[in-house]
Symmetry: C2
């Protein structure tokens, strides 16, 4: 990795943190140049436009999400343990352990849902990949015999997303001290419904 690439990454790290706080729309090359005390022309050499910067920030945030959430969870055994690890890591991510302003994707979703263009497309692409990844983890749970054969893995991924969005609303807006407990209870209810019901047939 050359010096240029290292500089670019450290700029993007800062930009991702900033975007999590002020929103993707507030992020501009001008603002970033003030924050980092770098020349605008230098930043323009790395990012051709505000839009290109926003796309790169979303891409970089997705890489950091993979590093913080997906990669460590892959160490857990397939099936329910891995789904649990993904959920707990995701909760950590949303709590802002990695980003000061909390989950950039949640904020960007409501910022961009009425818009069109490459920034929105990048967000949709990364969100789709993540939902498909969760559905894949659910299917591995079926193969492992943890979850019912007739489970709708895409529905469970969708529902899990709802659990995280509700956590976000409860914790960040409502400052509900029970937000974690509520999210875990909702997750456990989804698992109960997903599991092979051994006890009834026993």
């Amino acid at each position: 990795m050359g010096k240029g690439e290292l500089t670019r990454r450290s700029i993007l790290d800062h930009a991702v943190g900033l975007a999590s706080q002020i929103g993707l729309e507030g992020l501009s090359i001008g603002r970033l140049s003030e924050e980092l005390e770098l020349s605008k022309s230098g930043l323009f050499a790395h990012f051709k436009s505000k839009e290109a910067l926003q796309v790169d920030v979303l891409r970089h945030a997705a890489l950091r999400f993979v590093e913080a959430v997906v990669r460590p969870a892959l160490k857990a055994p397939r099936g329910e343990p891995r789904l649990r690890a993904l959920f707990e890591r995701w909760l950590d991510w949303a709590r802002g352990r990695a980003l000061p302003g909390g989950c950039l994707f949640v904020a960007a979703a409501t910022e961009l849902d009425d818009k069109t263009g490459p920034v929105r497309d990048q967000l949709v692409r990364s969100q789709r990949e993540w939902l498909e990844f969760i559905a894949g983890a659910v299917r591995l749970g079926v193969d492992e015999g943890h979850f019912r054969r007739d489970i709708d893995a895409v529905q469970l991924a969708h529902d899990l997303y709802g659990v995280m969005l509700a956590w976000n609303h409860a914790a960040r807006l409502m400052r509900d001290p029970k937000a974690d407990r509520r999210a875990r209870a909702a997750f456990e209810n989804l698992l109960v419904a997903a599991r092979v019901r051994r006890r009834r047939t026993a």
Copy 2:
């Protein structure tokens, strides 16, 4: 109701629709004066500041939510039928039947969650009232014998909020044609877990 009050209401109706599209932060007396072709000074007479305007817009949106969602649902019988009516009306509201840009509260939640002040306080107050109203509807379902006595009504209200946020994400950002079906499936799963389990004891 005097002429001044009627004018104020029609201004707020427009402002709520505008805020649902451009966000609460984008809403200013200047922008509103351009849109409505009214003088800034006239608008300042109704709303003393941008902040006061934003608070009034949130208050007015809450009134419209009550008219569009709560009041019609109160005609349904207490318990599960009323909870279903609330859910379906809420889905209609989120779909933007009432507001061009979809649910103003969802967009405002991620806009305001990092902020402090009277605008955020107004949003939190109305969200708390709504969550408590849902929990109350769940408790009526317990009284009617539809739901389990040991149900956590606050948890169910929280979970239902998550179902709506997941719908919002799926429909508005991901443009998922199955968003309605996914939301209804999630809602039915919550009801299954909430119901008195007659069959097992039979």
